[in-house]
Symmetry: D2
Subunit: 424 residues, 4 copies
């Protein structure tokens, strides 16, 4: 049992953080959907609430009655176990309920969840543990949507020819200051062997991080930081987007599909000969030292090939990240360096297809649909990004997107295979 005060405070914190993300936005901003892959902010606000209502209140609140019967369908993302879903591509058409009604929905569910937390505190037992587990899952789920709120609204604003900013730029300087001194790139080497990956801790983790299991790794090296915008510009200038030898066959087709002619990362735009980038702070000159982001898997893979490197596997990434956490016991001691930009700069594409770990079992019931049913034709991203809620991610965390997805904060960290015992 989690101390009720702790869980209550955490619940309030996370829920408040979500609400704060909507503050700079108008009701219109919150309602629009820029593409099927993205959802309106209002939908995110309601769906995360629906999650608590459906998976916590419905089974455990005495005398449960739904806030609004239609919401069961309207804000169900993809849980067939719960029932039908309103079509994803039409989420931007839900002008009713309006924002005010969605805030009511959030407040109502918040009050009821908070009551339940208080009741639980006085009734220890297995049911209380299950309720608390589900509430924690709901909070983790909400944090995932916090990141999506930002990525989705950025995509919406980018499609607006006025290129409006989500935020005014005062915060921008602060954020960018993190990157003022670009770290020089080091190659960190790992001898591999039998390693363990997957979550073996006692804290929260998603089912897709389980079970912890062994993997054999051949010796490899990993870059100490992400590929920068300056480095990616060199790839562009070298004709990287014009050379089919650098691209996966499917990537080359994607580059030229549907009237698009991809020539640069998604949010880049040349103005008066200078690269700019559309950010949550509006259109700003591209910062050369910052990590190159908003890349598809295809672009990350092509860049790596051009750089005579490759993407890491997720096992390599996790092993290295755990080593960093554990002060890198198997890195070369002489020039042991920290691994930079693991969790706070950009998600990092791995070459690993998203698939179940050996022994994986989805949880029973509709919540078993949370992760497992997406394990095909998606690629794992590791780490975290500057829009990931602090504390949400970890070394064993498995993010995943299809290879063409670009509106996420996805970059890359280079890897190389090594001869056993060799040095770079």
């Amino acid at each position: 049992m989690i101390a009720s005060g702790t869980l209550l405070a955490r619940y309030e914190d996370v829920r408040r953080a979500t609400a704060m993300l909507a503050e700079p936005l108008s009701d219109e901003d919150c309602c629009a959907q820029s593409m099927t892959d993205a959802s309106p902010v209002k939908w995110h606000l309601a769906h995360t609430t629906w999650f608590f209502e459906t998976f916590v209140l419905e089974p455990y609140e005495p005398g449960f009655r739904p806030f609004h019967p239609a919401f069961r369908v309207l804000f169900n993302s993809y849980y067939n176990g719960i029932g039908e879903q309103y079509p994803r591509s039409r989420r931007g058409l839900i002008t009713r309920p309006g924002m005010d009604k969605v805030w009511d929905y959030r407040n109502d569910v918040d009050a009821r969840i908070e009551s339940l937390i208080v009741i639980c505190a006085s009734q220890p037992g297995s049911q209380t543990r299950e309720i608390e587990r589900l509430i924690e899952l709901g909070l983790q789920h909400e944090q995932q949507h916090q990141e999506l709120i930002l990525t989705d609204v950025q995509h919406l604003l980018w499609l607006n020819p006025l290129r409006p900013a989500y935020h005014d730029d005062s915060a921008l300087l602060e954020l960018q200051s993190r990157y003022l001194e670009p770290a020089p790139l080091h190659w960190l080497t790992f001898q591999g062997g039998i390693t363990e990956i997957g979550n073996g801790g006692t804290g929260f983790c998603f089912d897709n991080e389980l079970p912890r299991h062994r993997q054999y790794l051949e010796p490899y090296a990993l870059a100490s930081r992400l590929v920068t915008n300056a480095e990616y510009m060199a790839f562009i200038d070298a004709g990287g987007y014009q050379d089919p030898a650098l691209w996966l066959s499917e990537g080359w087709a994607w580059l030229h599909s549907d009237n698009q002619a991809v020539q640069h990362p998604m949010y880049w735009e040349k103005r008066d000969g200078t690269w700019h980038e559309f950010t949550l702070y509006g259109m700003v000159p591209l910062a050369p030292e910052r990590p190159a982001l908003h890349l598809s898997y295809y672009e990350a893979d092509a860049y790596a090939r051009w750089a005579q490197a490759r993407l890491p596997t997720e096992a390599e990434w996790e092993h290295a990240a755990m080593s960093a956490t554990c002060e890198q016991p198997d890195a070369r001691p002489a020039d042991a360096v920290a691994i930079d930009q693991l969790y706070d700069s950009g998600w990092q594409w791995t070459s690993s297809s998203y698939s179940p770990y050996p022994g994986f079992n989805a949880q029973p019931g509709a919540l078993g649909e949370y992760n497992g049913k997406f394990m095909v034709n998606q690629y794992v991203l590791r780490g975290g990004s500057c829009v990931t809620p602090p504390g949400h991610t970890r070394a064993t965390y498995r993010n995943f997107f299809p290879a063409h997805a670009r509106w996420q904060y996805a970059g890359l960290r280079l890897a190389r295979s090594m001869q056993a015992d060799a040095r770079l």
Copy 2:
């Protein structure tokens, strides 16, 4: 020259009427776009304003400066002569400018147009006449968009599973009362011969109504009123949607295209065995005596074939409508009856493809794009509907839509060919 007071009052009336249409709607309702063919209410509000700014203020206001430079592209519907256009399919993503800004835009342009009207009043001459002509065109244009605001918002609300009403239903009873006593159907006969169609009056008309010209009509008969819901239900019950012999080949393909299986008019829905219809007042039981509306050309054509009749040509329709106006000199005198539901019930599909009248000249400049460039693969609708602004339409008015369009208030009036001098 129009009396300044008159034009000023008319300008204010029309503009105010548009604004009133947005009153029952939230900002979210106004921003969303339900399909490419429809536009957001906000876009309609801005585009009609853009029309006055672009075609009146820009050439004639001394020291003209645009309200916002980006609006030139953002709210340009399709005038290549003015420049680029923001993609039509993305109008629902224009969350900025927000509604408040669009109201500012309307107010600003209103003030400037009103000033211009006042100035004009004191400066008679050819420029004043041209300005007044353009303002009148803008007002007629605005009235067209008033109707589109209602049809477009109805489509949006229909796609919402909550089926929200645009209006509360108190007005509904009043509106429906018009139809309480369905008129019995009469066939009105016309001997045809050399007739004239096209606008020959002195009031406003669109360029596509010109020039007035002769057409030879063979004898024909026209139904005294529109096909009713009850009649259309009989067509459905008789298997009309299942019999390919009743359908144009393209219509039959359309019935089965893209996962749709059309089985009834667009807004119809069977609930507990009873037909209901989605209206601006929400979902209501289908009124059997009201005209069947929201039909595609294909459906109207198939119904007519089933009823051993056909759609009228636009010349037949106009000739009959003018006869009605002129007290029907060539109808059978014994049971001469008025033609009902000409302008206030539903647009009436004709079998006439939308094409230029003999001698048609589009006006010069970008305004020449208003009508002429759409004269292919569209069909003419005549009359007017219950959502057409009063006074906007007339016997020579040519509305037009592609054959598959169903979200408009489009129904049908049957016609038949006759032997010369014969009677039905």
Copy 3:
């Protein structure tokens, strides 16, 4: 009753002519389908045979048994009244039956039809007249497919990068000689008034040419010949494909749709700075004096607008063509000139949507599907082309295709509206 000898000879002639069209082709050439709008030669050979089998033998041959039961579906083009149809887009996959079997099919049906013709000769009466009418319809139908065989195989060979010729080029010089002396363009003027169009003769005509009826025509002028390649090149050189003001809105969209960027007529290709054209004789230098062909309606319309003219209506075209036939009674006698290139050079787009004549009745039964069900969103072409079988077409003949169709031999003859009694 047609004299049996005459009908028999005609049947044999037409059927033999079809077979001869396949002579230069391999079985592979005959089997492939280049696009959904076109059909394989083998399919044409079988479908025209199916037409006789289904509409003549099945009802009238004593003890009728089908040649092969599956052919009823396989070679049914679009007659729902007969039953199901094999999907049009997959006609190129019918490798079985093979060509030898299709020749067997033709021979078998030919023998049976010929027997029937002989029997009919000895049994005058209404049934014989009906059989003979249907056989004549089948032959007219077959001639339509003779033209399609050539247009469809040309399209197929054009998509082959080897650009193989259908014929060797010895015949080419002969064919081209027709055009060695381009006629100077005259404008022929017509005063219009009440005219009659539609077939009023005693020979064969299709149901869509009926009934003959009156139309009022305003005064107009028609070009004495088709627009030439040289004239069309001038349109291209003047930037015609780049100026939206010249195009219908739908045409402008079509120009840029689906990765195509239309810049010239379909079979044109610039080689070493010189325009060439793909023909049935292979790729040849473009002949400036020949009519510009393989134009879409959109291109024909844009050219006409650029030339400060327009497309004729089908009534204008027919009236003028009949006048020519009748030695132009209502043309100005002083400079009466012949109308060139009416039937043997290229089909001529008209501005008339394909729709039923006043009083049109489709024939009963499945044959009623021959023409009537296509009367929407297609445009009428008049005249005939160099690949139309001699004698097949006439002044009242109505060919029709959708506005985007370009693989037909479709060009244009300019028209202009005139003031009554005015001269150009």
Copy 4:
């Protein structure tokens, strides 16, 4: 150096085997393309020849001249390093060159390759070794296309409503006799641990089988044979295609996409209440004891989930297959059984995404495009099928297709995870 006699004989054998596959087919059968994923037989015949011409003759034949310059583009499948490619979706339109010309092409290249082999025999050295390596690669490549010829022609014939057989059925009974006594299913258990996979032998292998490397396997069990048609029918009867809980999210969407409603394996068809299956021998009653084939990855995965099992990884499969070859040292000794249907019954979907082995290097030049560039969004199939050329496949062989592919002979072998040291 391979003995010239041996290589020559092998070359002739393989090439002759390809030609024999075309024997039951007409030129029309050989020319048609049933879908973009499949190629015409003629194209396979020419492309395999192009492979020898391009990769062997062009660099190594003294005074090389191409058989036909256009073939370089026409029969290049996907090698950007060689140059442009004729569009894949139009391969069925290449009616010229005709089949006779393609046979000439094969004969010409065969004679030249055979000369080169004889010359090589007298000139040992590194160049000879390289030539022989490339010829062997060409032969392996040709064998891959032998299988594709059969799968592609089967798909073509299936789309023909006559359902014609590729072969007469005399051979069928013989083929089916292999399956008369279905083997009872055993679970074979493997303790895992550090294993090695990848090709470590001296015989031919593809680059994607290299390098041999270590993988750690958790304990697992593998079914002794493939899932049978009878078992798969039980899945269908249990509502497997209707239960979303059994399907990957993408698989569920695929089931319902594009007007298809997948309800059974691709070539199954119920006739008079009995399942039949379309085979190379035509439509035959479904044999319950034969392996269920022509499954997509989605279907294989859903079946496995329903059977409370899963798909094996490719490492598990290979480890087990090698164990079988090595007399299964780590299977339970008491009831040690052979693994059935490894290579001759049906390809077996694994859960492994097709990705490079650690240390993989594509070969330099255009041949590096052979495998590497497809390593995204495809899944590995292991084993071999009844249409795989004998001797072509092996335990380390990696076949791969996208998850929706069904026209291949793809079935599944179940796997399960085990507790260490536990027994099923």
